[in-house]
Symmetry: C2
Subunit: 452 residues, 2 copies
């Protein structure tokens, strides 16, 4: 299968077709595309062009396209659609996507859209889903699922499933409930297909079933589904009544978003932005971290000013030439240590006592520090640096590396213990604090060793 | 559902049970755990303890546990198992997992294990899968799937599916092939359940089916499945003959691994390591980047030495105090720009011409640079810095920021055009080169402006 590739020619042609109102040709062409590809096209069009194209689509396609659009494009397109048009889209979507769409409207428009929906059960489902936190299991789940009663026979079960299946895009698991809608197990399609028609569900269902509570955090649900290779998981309330289910496709998006977020935090980008976002959005995401870096830099200015008199010393002034090197090493080591810990915490693989972790980080940074210090002394020899100075620089660098590694290791652990996202501690935060710390330590140790 | 949490007490108890050979209790306990949890436990045991525990497990569980183990632990455990024991595990697993397991053995042992497998068809499947590149669609796929012939009736289809389903863990899609095993479409379970028993598959199947070729890259398959929300995708050869299928659970692992790898590259960690890996493995992954940083730092030493005479000037020597600040800003800006581009490239959202990207990055960095420069001048005023010096520092910083942003943007784009993983350009690579570049630019511009 050759994946769809949006190129400039195609885009230009679509734009010109829209301008010339070539309705029939556009309609035919657009309805052939996958909704994800159409969303990619509309992301590149103006709002007017996008709305024009969307109105040409088959109704069952429109809603999926809207769900896939970039957030800011979607917002603008929704503003250009009438309440009635939005309500029609909402009726086409699975409840989880419908709710995601409605949640983006103003409260006033939300009420207007919901008032337009005729199906009472659907209105109830949507209002229930709107009440959950967006990042909780309730906020991720859909109401659509296939469930059967333990007292049914295989034949009745098949009949009921045919009815339910028309409502559900993909069947995944078949959940088994008792007369009170309490989740008691699941039914494998395999067992259903291979069982006698008159057998009771009671006799063939699997009582072991994974589930999550409606208030569980989305991140925990994602971890659980990835760890246990689950493709769908039922969601229950405190009394284990079956409320809905979460499917792996929603979780794949969630995992990608989480990974992107951590990556951006490590790079000093604070909100979720993309290369194609506006300059203002990108500035908002980037400038705060740069200001943090500026303050950190000013901190190192103060420290260096404190050692101003060293500049007049014929050999010791070399320390100033080595300052950026020391700062860079402190930053690099800190980021390495923190990244490994942050990733370990995210995947639950940081075990053992704090003490054993301390021993490990110190050993590791001693090895790195000795290797790098050795290299530095060798270079100093060839460059004709005074031996006492080059040994001092190497030794201070060793100390800076050890301390930076410890800061990089323990700041994320401490943040995590206090329920703060440890990913915030990677990137600019660690580099900046380690820059200041490293430079101070470097000059201070040199002062003691060289005695100035 | 309360997710399993491995804690020190539990681990200590299991270890002591193993030591005291409490076979019955251990067996009962171990077989209650999910295989993923058992793998987590065994990852923390010694090889001998692990092998002992694995041999207590029910045979259908053992193979799944082994597949979930950490790579180095798995390797050691496989070494402790006999060829016959490994062959038994291989027979329990789905073909894709079986092949992953076999691929970790030496070639000699591979042949020995395969010779022990009795099922001829399975041996063929395994040998076929072993022939594909690990990171290709062929390397990710399993041979197990449910397929039906277009000429069957619904009744025959149901009967055949019952047989096939016993071989397949989860049914996902039902693929439709012609008499030559060429993939022609898929069958929705919904349509099958709601169709007349005597209807031909021909009349109810969906001819539109996504598929990938056996030699497609795994990364592209992952993108495709995530974009189109696919839970399984069939794999075909060049003549569209159906060879196997890839399921989303394998892709979730793949996406996580890819994200982890990019994150580590950005943090200056070159091979896939975890917090709990050995000190030697961690050093191997981290030291090379630190050595790169050291060379970069030495580069800046040379540059600074070139401006040595500035140290004797009463006002201009302040430039040396500001050097770490400039280096930090150059590094931070470069990492931000490169991270956004790398992520954009990974998600295919970097569009438009190189020129428009250039305009955008320059505008963005001018805004940031002016804001930060303004702050710096304000600080300089309060700190009593000479006006000409503080303006010079602010202006050079502005230039450094613009250049760093451009380097951060274009290095990944150029690498990508030359088919080199752009993720390598984030982190230490960009910070180090921008450090040197930034410091040189800073002093050079200051030299021109202040005329020393």
């Amino acid at each position: 299968m050759i994946p769809f590739q949006l190129n400039d020619e195609l885009l230009a042609q679509i734009k010109s077709d829209i301008e010339q109102r070539k309705t029939a040709a556009l309609k035919r062409r657009a309805n052939e595309y996958h909704y994800a590809d159409l969303a990619e096209i509309i992301d590149e069009l103006s709002t007017d062009e996008g709305v024009y194209l969307i109105k040409l689509l088959d109704s069952e396609k429109t809603s999926d396209v809207i769900t896939e659009l970039d957030e800011d494009i979607r917002e603008r397109i929704l503003e250009s659609l009438s309440v009635k048009e939005i309500a029609e889209e909402v009726e086409e979507l699975d409840t989880d996507d419908a709710v995601d769409l409605i949640a983006e409207l103003s409260e006033e428009r939300q009420a207007e859209v919901i008032a337009q929906i005729e199906d009472e059960a659907r209105v109830q489902d949507i209002q229930e889903l709107l009440s959950y936190d967006e990042d909780s299991a309730g906020g991720l789940m859909a109401k659509e699922l296939v469930k059967v009663n333990e007292n049914w026979t295989v034949t009745k079960c098949m009949r009921e499933m045919r009815v339910q299946a028309t409502e559900v895009k993909r069947v995944h698991s078949i959940y088994v409930v008792d007369d009170n809608n309490v989740l008691i197990g699941r039914l494998s399609l395999k067992d259903l297909l291979t069982s006698n028609d008159r057998a009771k569900i009671k006799s063939i269902y699997i009582p072991k079933v994974d589930f999550v509570y409606v208030n569980d955090e989305g991140e925990d649900v994602a971890k659980l589904m990835a760890k246990y290779d689950l493709e769908a998981i039922p969601v229950v309330d405190e009394s284990k009544k079956l409320l809905g289910r979460i499917t792996i496709d929603d979780i794949v998006d969630f995992i990608k978003e989480e990974a992107d977020k951590d990556y951006q935090l490590a790079a000093g980008i604070s909100t979720d932005v993309e290369a194609d976002d506006s300059i203002i959005d990108l500035t908002k995401a980037r400038l705060p971290w740069l200001i943090l870096g500026l303050f950190g830099g000013l901190g190192s200015v103060f420290i260096l000013e404190g050692f101003e008199e060293v500049m007049t010393h014929p050999s010791y002034k070399a320390l100033f030439f080595y300052t950026p090197l020391i700062a860079a090493m402190a930053g690099n080591v800190g980021v390495q240590s923190s990244a490994i810990i942050v990733q370990g915490l995210a995947n639950d693989i940081v075990k053992g006592s704090l003490f054993s972790r301390l021993v490990k980080e110190v050993s590791l940074s001693l090895i790195n520090g000795v290797a790098l210090g050795g290299l530095l002394i060798a270079f100093g020899y060839f460059l004709g640096l005074e031996t006492s100075v080059s040994f001092t620089i190497a030794l201070s660098m060793l100390c800076v590396i050890v301390v930076s590694a410890l800061v990089g290791t323990f700041v994320p652990i401490i943040l995590n213990k206090n329920n703060i996202d440890p990913a915030i501690a990677t990137g600019p935060f660690i580099t900046t604090s380690n820059d200041i710390f490293g430079i101070f330590l470097f000059f201070y140790i040199a002062k003691i060793l060289l005695g100035f």
